[in-house]
């Protein structure tokens, strides 16, 4: 009973198409009949209470989680069980994690150079040029030789964004990128994400930053209990939520009495 049923016929310019995706952990159903089509350049914000399956959903897209039913296509590649398609999809899809997951034993620069050199076969010089350019873009190039632990949380997350961008992905997934940050560092990360959105990157963001959702999202999707409950453009979503659970959630998250 998903509002997303309308996506049964995916638009021609769809970057990501999930159809009837279901996932179980043993007896517990983590995702129920997920249907979602994301067009090229579209920005989606996924929100919902904890345990509602938001992270699980985006982690299925780059196959950090497997799923038992349904189909996921990324840029025309149907995600299968074989290393080849999984690898193809992961080269197109960048991911930013809640806890940054930078490699602590490498400098910031090396963090950004590793994957292009190992997976795309870039030369050291190419990888370094790309890395430096993207570190400059997230305004952290003067820290390139430092180790991750020498940076603040906000800086680390910006490095993580640059590291993902070094792979020249077509889609970026953000899994609660600001949840582990001190409040004063949230803005620098959101600003980086807004910049990315303005350049036309296709993005799916799991976040509770509703200001960010209002500003950049094309659609806000609300999940509960492993299913998509409601999806709407942000102005409708915030001013006129249709489902009781959405209203309750928004009330809690926006601290309205």
């Amino acid at each position: 009973m998903s509002d997303a049923a309308a996506t049964g016929a995916a638009p021609a310019d769809a970057m990501i198409v999930m159809s009837h995706v279901e996932k179980w952990y043993g007896d517990f159903q983590a995702l129920t009949d997920i249907n979602l089509a994301v067009r090229k350049g579209e920005k989606i914000v996924l929100c919902g209470p904890s345990g509602s399956g938001k992270s699980t959903l985006i982690r299925c897209i780059n196959r950090l989680e497997d799923y038992q039913k349904g189909e996921i296509r990324v840029g025309g590649t149907r995600l299968g069980d074989d290393a080849r398609t999984i690898d193809a999809v992961r080269r197109e899809v960048g991911m930013v994690f809640q806890h940054f997951n930078l490699f602590p034993h490498m400098s910031v620069l090396r963090n950004c150079m590793l994957a292009p050199m190992r997976s795309l076969g870039a030369s050291r010089a190419e990888a370094e040029a790309t890395a430096r350019a993207l570190l400059e873009r997230v305004r952290i190039h003067e820290q390139a030789e430092k180790y991750p632990a020498q940076l603040s949380g906000g800086q680390q997350q910006r490095v993580a964004i640059a590291r993902a961008l070094c792979m020249k992905p077509k889609v970026m997934l953000f899994d609660e990128p600001t949840s582990a940050l001190d409040p004063e560092m949230v803005k620098e990360v959101l600003d980086t994400m807004i910049g990315l959105a303005e350049e036309g990157m296709t993005m799916i963001c799991v976040t509770h930053e509703m200001g960010f959702a209002r500003q950049v999202a094309d659609r806000v999707i609300f999940m509960a209990g492993g299913a998509i409950v409601e999806e709407a453009p942000p102005q409708d979503f915030f001013s006129n939520p249709r489902h009781e659970r959405t209203r309750k959630f928004l009330g809690e998250i926006l601290h309205q009495p």
């Binding site: 780059n62 196959r63 950090l64 290393a83 690898d87 992961r90 080269r91 899809v93 960048g94 991911m95 994690f97 806890h99 997951n101 930078l102 490699f103 602590p104 034993h105 590793l114 994957a115 190992r118 997976s119 180790y147 632990a149 020498q150 993580a160 590291r163 993902a164 792979m167």
Partner: protein, 213 residues
């Protein structure tokens, strides 16, 4: 104890060093293979290596050397003493190092593997560039501790005919009737072998801690 006896002890020391190097090399290479299989997520490999580790951790090294040298000879496989000892120490060391390194690999936070996968790093790059460098750092105290144990464990090679340091000490002691002096010297030689290794381990640990902080 004269010069000749001391030189004899040094010849014994040479064998101890060579046996240790064989154990380090064989144990290191095979131990890495054991650790990778043990943490591979492939059930038959994990069960197989778990059994292997249980077997070689659960039986004395002395008995393992006996079986490889005398036991295999009984069933018609006559091995050169060097080969037998190399196999024995490799089996023994790879079981211990395999388990130490398996634990270290699993101690690296899951997010590291996930980030590497999300960057489409394949298994070899994921292990070589991301997981193992961090696992080695975690495993350093236990690894050095085991290698020091292994150096001392080489004395058991005497049972297959090696005149390594302990056996040499025994012989000299029987000739000179000065066990306290002879084994005192033997002890000092072992210490001079093991202590720098411990120091080097501590040094590496400090250096890697600086790099990671």
């Amino acid at each position: 104890m004269g010069e000749a006896e001391f030189l004899f002890l040094l010849t014994g020391l040479k064998w101890t060093v060579l046996l240790s190097l064989v154990g380090f090399a064989g144990g290191g290479i095979c131990g890495l293979a054991v650790a990778l299989m043990r943490s591979s997520g492939i059930a038959p490999l994990e069960r197989g290596t778990a059994g292997y580790i249980a077997l070689f951790q659960g039986t004395p090294l002395l008995m393992q050397l006996f079986v490889v040298y005398y036991g295999l000879a009984l069933v018609g496989l006559k091995l050169d003493a060097w080969v037998a000892v190399a196999i024995g120490f490799t089996l023994h060391a790879s079981a211990y190092l395999g388990e130490i390194w398996r634990g270290s690999i699993e101690a690296v936070p899951r997010g590291q593997t996930e980030a590497a996968k999300a960057l489409s790093l394949h298994y070899v790059a994921r292990m070589k560039d991301v997981i193992l460098p961090q696992a080695i750092r975690i495993s350093l105290p236990a690894t050095i501790g085991f290698l020091v144990q292994l150096i001392k464990g080489t004395s058991l090679a005497a049972i297959v005919g090696f005149t390594e340091l302990t056996r040499a000490g025994n012989i000299v002691s029987n000739q000179t009737f000065k066990p306290l002096l002879v084994f005192g010297v033997v002890g000092i030689l072992y210490f001079l072998l093991c202590w720098p290794l411990s120091l080097y381990g501590a040094h590496l640990e400090r250096r890697m801690a600086v790099a990671a902080r």
